[in-house]
Structures are given as C-alpha cells and as structure tokens.
C-alpha cells in the first residue's frame, strides 16, 4: 500500500512538473513595431497582427487562409431584401479578457458593438478626437467609405444589433471582417474615461480574441497569454511572443537558429537557403495584390483599345516577371483580381507576347513616343518600378516606340499620376483590403474613381453598370456572374497592362502546426500549435 501511495505521489509530482514544463511559448519574429494596439486607429499589417488578429474579434471573420466570410462574434445575420438593413445576432456569453488592468463585470453585448463603430465617426463621441489621442484620422473607416454607406447602428436588445445603410452595398459584410471593425469593450472605455486614462485604451488593449495582452517593451518584445475565456475555446499555445526584428536576413537567421518559430517576408535572396534547410518550411501564397500599368485612355492614340492591346503585346511579360521577382516568383496576372479571390474568371486571358503584330498596329496608329512612369519605391506587387520601366522601354523600342521614363518620389508620383490629363503609361498596383472583388474593380476602375485611384481615367459604361449592380446585389452567386462579365470587358478594353500577383512568404519551423498563410496578408495564431 505504501509503495502504491509513493508511486501515485511520484506520478502526481511528475505530471505536475511536466505540466509546468509544457507551458508552450510560440515566438513570432514580426517585421516592425506596432504603432499602437487600437486597430481602429492604425493602418499597417504589422499593427493588425499585433492587435486585431490576436487580442480582438469581429462580428464576422475571414475564413482562416481564405477571403470568404464566416461567423465571428455574430452567430448569424439577416440582410433585408432591399439590402439596406443588416441584423446581427451576437454569440451569447462572450467574455472580455480579464487582466491586471481590467476586470469585466458583464459579457459582450450590443452596446460594445455600437460603441466600436460610433467612436470612429461620431464627433460627439469623446473617443473620436483629441480627448482620446491627438490627431486621430480613422483612416480605414473613412478609406472604406463607411461614412457614406452607414446610416446608423442600433441596439435592438442585448444580443441583437441593427445596421442600416444609406444604399445597398454588398461589400459591407467583408468590411465588417476587416481589422478596423474589431469590437472593443465599452465597459473598459468607460472605466478609463472615468479614471482619466483614456490613452491607455491604445496601449493596454482589451478584446474578446484568442490571446490577451501582457506586456510591450517598446520596439522590442510584445507578450501575450492565451485567453482562458476565449469563446471559441482556449488556444493550445500558452504564451505568444512577438520578437520585433526589422531586418529580413536577421529574421530568417533567427528562425534557422530556433530563436523564433515563425517569421514573415524573407528576402528573395534567402529563399534558396531556407529551402535547403530541413528544420524549417517555406510557406507561400499568391498575395491579394496586383501590379499593373495604367494607360490614360482619354488621350489619343491611347484612347483606342487596339493601341493598348498592341503595347501589351509588345512586352515580353514572362521575362519581365522573372527579372523583377527573381527567386521569389510571382503569378502572371490574367485578370485584375488574383486567382485566390472568388469570382476570378478562369476563361479570361490577357494579351500574349506578339511583337510582330504589335509593331504594325502601333505604326498604323502613329505612336512614336510615350511617357513611361516609374516610382522610387519597393511595393509588394512590384519590387522595382525603375527596372520594370527599363525592360518595358527596351521591349517597346523593338516595336518602334520610344519610351521616356518619368520618375518621381512615391507620394508626388501618385499625386501626378492620378491627374486626368496625365499622359502615357503609369506603373502602379494595389493590395486588397477585404477580399471583396469590389475592392479591386470599383476602387481602381469605377468612373467615380477618376482623379482618385482610377489611373487610366477609364470610364466604360458596360463595365461600370456591371460593377455597380454587383455592389448592390447581396447574393454572392449573382455577384460572381456580374464580376465574371466585368472581367471579360476589362480584357477586351485593356485599360491597363496587367503584370503579376506577387507571392507572399513566411518561414515556419517544422514543429509548428496549424499556421496558415492568409491571402489578406494578416498573420493569425489562433489554431496554431507547437510540439517540442
């Protein structure tokens, strides 16, 4: 008996010890310091990784690794037939995180949802302006046109919220899955306001997400712990650490040395090294982006589609992509939207390389000189505008068109480029916000975007009708058909030369499971596990 007792005690001790030893820590080498932890006020992907995707949740969420919408804090929702009223039913019993700086006394309710949005537009809300933080601009809320579309947010009862729109806008649901739409705690906000410590709202976050904030050492380390009350169940990882490592090569060395488990954005030059290492895996995915070159379709002879097609045909796109993206690779673009996005039309093909045919059309059109624009900035969809311009210049020279390269600093570049009378071909690109095709088609080529972000000054009635109709239709199958037709028109009219969708990479140690690349460019740690 004694022996059995001793054995049981030893077993107990062993299990307690092993339980202690197995506190799992996942280290993510992030690329930059977050501006702060309030996702309504920030704009960077690194800000969102550190706040909205770890600490917070939203009414609806993007499917992990995709752009489809799935339930989040709202279990279900109804959209009225006229597309104007959205009714959300909240998941009951969702708890805000309990930390040493906040102890919630109630569960999440409709007040929190209404407050989360109200603070972003209502000038009367004390959290909208300087009282909270100086020079707040709420960039995403305004950038996604929320003030134009949202008429009001209302609490129906504790677990029901009603959103009324000014006009039907199908992408709204996708907007609500975006980072700026993270749901914050009104109770916490009230507490801080009473204590006169409103700025703490952005440095000590409280949400309903998978991890809760523990500590941030400026520009160095962020620490989180698994939220024990997470409404989708506690995460398998106990502690999550962000080791802020801005240099790409150092970041990869840290993964290889086992100092961190996951790191995003390796240098293209390091990709061969990573592939050769057997302790780590390189994950990749076509990014939610497009690199393209807009022709000003209002200035002759670029107003003729055949001339634009000819310019496209004169470019050896395969060689161009290889030279620009090198080992990192990129998916040649056939449509404006990437193949990972719903409604991508697989039957549409863009122009193929055919300098002979191009030469004749361009000679007939009398096009001898053209301006070719290049910015000084590295963008995810185009790592080197200048190099691209030089290669395109050489290709066009072969068909008898002399391209004069125009350079500007990035901000000035876009300022000049969006002018209606800007001549020639303008290299630009786009990274999607919410995975909705509208975010590409309407943002970049709607008639109303001329002078803002429609760098082709292209306004095609058929295309416009289709994308406006798709914007007002709630049914996704119906919308898909409309966007597929829009892509056919786009290919026929060729307002732009489509380059590529760049690949996005992350390096993960092999003992990590459940980490997925996200087309939206976010890094999520819910569902991630690690073995010793």
């Amino acid at each position: 008996m004694k022996k059995t007792m001793a054995f049981a005690a030893a077993l107990l001790a062993a299990s307690v010890l092993s339980g202690m030893a197995s506190a799992k820590t996942l280290v993510y080498c992030s690329e930059a310091s977050p501006a702060n932890f309030d996702p309504g006020t920030t704009t960077g992907g690194n800000d969102f990784d550190a706040s909205s995707r770890t600490v917070y949740s939203r009414l609806v969420e993007f499917k992990h690794g995709g752009t489809e919408i799935e339930p989040g804090l709202a279990d279900k929702w109804e959209i009225s037939d006229d597309g104007l009223v959205y009714t959300f039913h909240l998941h009951p019993g969702v708890k805000f995180q309990t930390t040493d700086y906040f102890k919630p006394t109630r569960d999440l309710n409709a007040d929190d949802v209404v407050f989360s949005f109200d603070r972003q537009f209502n000038k009367q809300n004390p959290w909208n302006g300087d009282k909270y933080l100086p020079n707040l601009t709420w960039d995403y809320y305004t950038g996604m046109d929320m003030p134009k579309y949202v008429a009001k947010w209302e609490k129906v009862d504790d677990l029901t919220v009603k959103l009324t729109l000014t006009e039907p806008n199908a992408p709204m649901l996708a907007n609500l899955g975006m980072d700026f739409a993270s749901i914050v705690s009104k109770e916490y906000a009230d507490q801080l306001e009473k204590e006169g410590k409103m700025a703490d709202f952005s440095t000590k976050p409280i949400g309903t997400g998978p991890f809760q904030f523990v500590d941030y050492q400026l520009d160095s380390v962020i620490r989180y712990a698994a939220n024990p009350d997470y409404f989708k169940g506690k995460e398998k990882i106990d502690d999550l650490v962000f080791a802020i490592t801005p240099d790409a090569t150092a970041r990869i060395q840290k993964v290889l040395a086992g100092e961190c488990d996951i790191a995003p954005y390796p240098n293209p030059a390091d990709i061969a090294t990573i592939k050769a290492n057997k302790d780590v895996t390189l994950l990749d995915q076509a990014g939610l982006n497009i690199g393209y070159m807009s022709y000003n379709t209002t200035i002759p002879p670029l107003d003729k589609p055949e001339v634009r097609h000819a310019l496209n045909q004169a470019i050896d796109r395969e060689a161009l992509i290889k030279s620009l993206f090198q080992d990192a690779g990129a998916t040649p673009a056939e449509n404006l939207i990437p193949p990972t996005m719903w409604s991508w039309n697989k039957d549409v093909k863009t122009d193929t390389y055919n300098p002979e045919a191009a030469k004749k059309v361009l000679a007939d059109a009398g096009l001898k000189e053209i301006q070719l624009w290049a910015a000084d900035r590295v963008r995810p969809y185009n790592p080197n505008f200048q190099r691209a311009a030089e290669l395109i210049q050489a290709d066009w020279a072969k068909v008898g068109v002399k391209a004069n390269i125009v350079n500007y600093e990035w901000t000035k570049y876009r300022e000049e480029g969006k002018k209606k009378d800007r001549p020639g071909a303008f290299q630009i690109g786009w990274t999607g916000d919410n995975g909705d095709p509208d975010n590409f088609f309407a943002t970049l080529f709607a008639c109303s975007a001329i002078g803002v972000s429609n760098y082709s000054s292209w306004c095609d009635k058929d295309f416009e009708d289709l994308i406006q109709k798709a914007k007002k239709t709630s049914d996704q199958a119906e919308r898909t058909k409309l966007y597929e037709q829009a892509q056919v028109i786009f290919a026929k009219e060729a307002p732009a030369f489509l380059l590529a969708h760049s690949q996005v990479y992350a390096v993960v140690r092999n003992n990590v499971t459940g980490f997925k690349m996200d087309p939206l460019g976010i890094h999520r740690f819910d569902g991630v596990d690690k073995s010793e």
Binding site: T25, V27, A32, S33, A35, N36, T41, T42, T43, G44, L133, P134, N135, L136, T137, D139, T142, G143, A199, S202, T203, D215, Q217, L218, D219, S220, V221, R223, V241, A243, I244, T245, P246, D247, T249, A250, Q253, K254, L256, A257, E259, Y408, E409, W410, T411, K412, R414, E415, K418, W430, T431, V452, S453
Partner: protein, 335 residues
C-alpha cells in the same frame, strides 16, 4: 576656466538655432505631401485633405509653422508621434538607454583594442605588425556596417551558433525595466543568467558599432604617439635611463592621449549615425531604429524632433569633451 566654459556654451547657441532650422526644413523639403503620404494607396478625398491639413497645422504660412515649432520645443514640447500618438520625448526616454548601453560597450570595445594597438604600432613603427594593423584599420574604417553586421550574424550566430542573432536579452527573461540598461537591470533583479544573456546579446552589435571608432582610435593613437615619441622630453626621459615601459606608459602616453580623447569625443556622432544601421540589423530597440522606422512611416514629427534631440546630445558630448580637454591640457584654458 569659467570664461572658457561660458565661451563654449555661447558658441552652442547659433548651432542650436541652425539645427532647429535644419530639422524643420529637412522634413519640409522631403518631396511629397505628408498628408498624402499618410493616406497611402487609398488616396484621400479633397475635403478630408483640407480638414487634415488644418488638423496638423500644415495650412499655416511656413514661418508661422516654424515659430510654433520653436515655441513648442523651447517649452520642452517635442510633439506627439503621428503614428503611435505617444509624446516623442517619452518614446525617446524609453529608447535612449538601449542606444546608450550599446554605444558604451561599442566604445569600450574600440578603446580596449584601439589604444593598445595604436601604441604598439607606433613603438614598432614600420614593422609588419604596424603595416598590417594600419591596413586593417583602413579596412575597418571603410567597412559598410550593414554588410559587416549581417556577415557576423550569419557566421557567429548562424554557422557557429555562439551568439544570439538579435534582440537585447533572451525572450525567457521578462524584466520590467528599472534603469532601462539591460545589464544593470538584470543585476538589480539579481539574475545572473539574465545578465549573461544581456552580455551575449551585446557582443555582435558592439563589435559592429565599434569597428569604425576602433579604426579611427587606433590610427589616431599611433600618430599621436609617434609625434610624442619624437619630443625632447621623451628623449630626456630615455637619457635618464628610465625603462622603456615607463617612458612609453607614463611620459609619452599621457601626452599622446590628449588628441585621442578629443577623437573619442568626436566619435559620439559616428556612434549615433552607426547606431541607426546597427540597431536595425540587430533589432536593438534604441533611437537609431526608431528614427529609421519613423522615416519609413513618414512620421515627420518624430523625425524632426528626433533629429533635434540627437543633435542636442552630440552637442552636449562635444561640450563635455571640450571641458575634459581643457582639464587634461592646461594650455587650452589660457588660449
């Protein structure tokens, strides 16, 4: 001495005014509109643009913006970061100890190796040691910091696994800052393993940051030493029959160190410039990395005030060097 000091301080005032003008002008001379830069690819509607311009004070005439800036700085208000919304001075205070700690160790590394190497090269003038040392110093002086840092990381951390890749301390140590100096804080907490971890994290960045000062100090020590070794009093000392060690260590070195001290002081500027690259490579949370991040984020307030604060520090150090110089070399005070 007091007159000398006051004189030096008076000279700082025009420099200071110049720096405020430069910091202010640089940021405004940068191409591109700060508001548009903040808006990113989305662009910003014209009405909203005007609203933001007013909010940030960019609608005022340029001289009025400058006057406002000087008034604020004079009252110790260095503004609020556009991106993080925290006071710039507060961020600076949080981050500066890290830069100071790194610079201190880099300087120790540069002096401990540079001064003896310089002395030895001077004494053995013309020998293979002298030749190769001066050659190496030239290489060190021309070393691109960025490349050098990555090379050391890949070799010592990646290939050999001797040193950590980057950061200030192992992630298993979770120390709330007391002084902000990781080596001191770890000792205050009484954690030896944390102290060792902090030291090991200092090795590579200190070498990288200290390389250029090391080269400069070695060369300066050598030439100062050579000059002094030719002086009459050294010959006298030798003639008295003093040992070579005593002649070099006491009579020559003391005098040779005067220009070296000035050089070391002047290296502070080099250190802060080098810190920008070193900190970025080694993910060192100091003011260098902070400035780089802010430039990329177009956080003009941080860039402008950060420049000013760094310039103030360089000026303060130069003043201290001038004073020290006067203390060790009485001839200066009279002049």
């Amino acid at each position: 001495m007091l007159r000398y000091l006051l004189n030096k301080i008076a000279l700082l005032i025009p420099t200071l005014v110049g720096i405020t003008i430069c910091a202010f002008a640089f940021v405004r001379l940068l191409p591109g509109d700060p508001i548009l830069a903040m808006a990113g690819e989305h662009g910003v509607a014209p009405a909203r643009y005007e609203e933001l311009k007013e909010q940030f004070g960019y609608n005022l005439p340029i001289w009025e913006q400058y006057a406002r800036y000087v008034r604020e700085v004079a009252t110790g208000d260095f503004g609020v970061s556009i991106s993080s919304k925290r006071p710039v001075l507060e961020e600076f205070k949080t981050l500066f100890p890290a830069t100071l700690e790194l610079s201190f160790f880099a300087m120790i590394f540069a002096m401990v190796i540079g001064i003896p190497a310089g002395i030895f090269a001077a004494v053995k003038r013309g020998s293979w040691f002298d030749q190769s040392l001066m050659g190496t110093a030239l290489v060190g002086y021309s070393m691109p910091i960025f490349w050098w840092g990555l090379l050391l990381i890949i070799f010592f951390s990646g290939y050999l696994g001797w040193t950590p890749v980057s950061g200030r301390i192992g992630l298993q140590f979770f120390l709330k800052p007391i002084t902000g100096f990781m080596t001191i804080d770890s000792l205050l907490y009484g954690k030896w393993d944390a102290f060792r971890s902090a030291l090991s994290h200092l090795v590579l960045p200190s070498i990288v940051l200290g390389t250029i000062p090391l080269a400069v100090i070695a060369r300066q020590t050598r030439s100062a030493m050579l000059e002094v070794l030719g002086e009459d009093y050294v010959r006298t000392a030798r003639a008295k029959g003093l040992s070579a060690a005593r002649v070099i260590g006491v009579h020559a070195l003391r005098n040779a160190l005067i220009p070296v001290v000035t050089t070391i002081g002047l290296q502070v500027g080099t250190l802060l410039a080098g810190a920008i690259l070193t900190e970025t490579i080694f993910a060192w949370p100091g003011i260098g990395k902070w400035m780089v991040d802010s430039i990329f984020k177009r956080d003009y307030v941080v860039v402008q005030s950060g420049l000013l604060l760094i310039a103030l520090i360089v000026m303060a150090v130069n003043l201290i060097v001038d004073v020290l110089y006067a203390v060790i070399n009485p001839r200066i005070r009279a002049a």
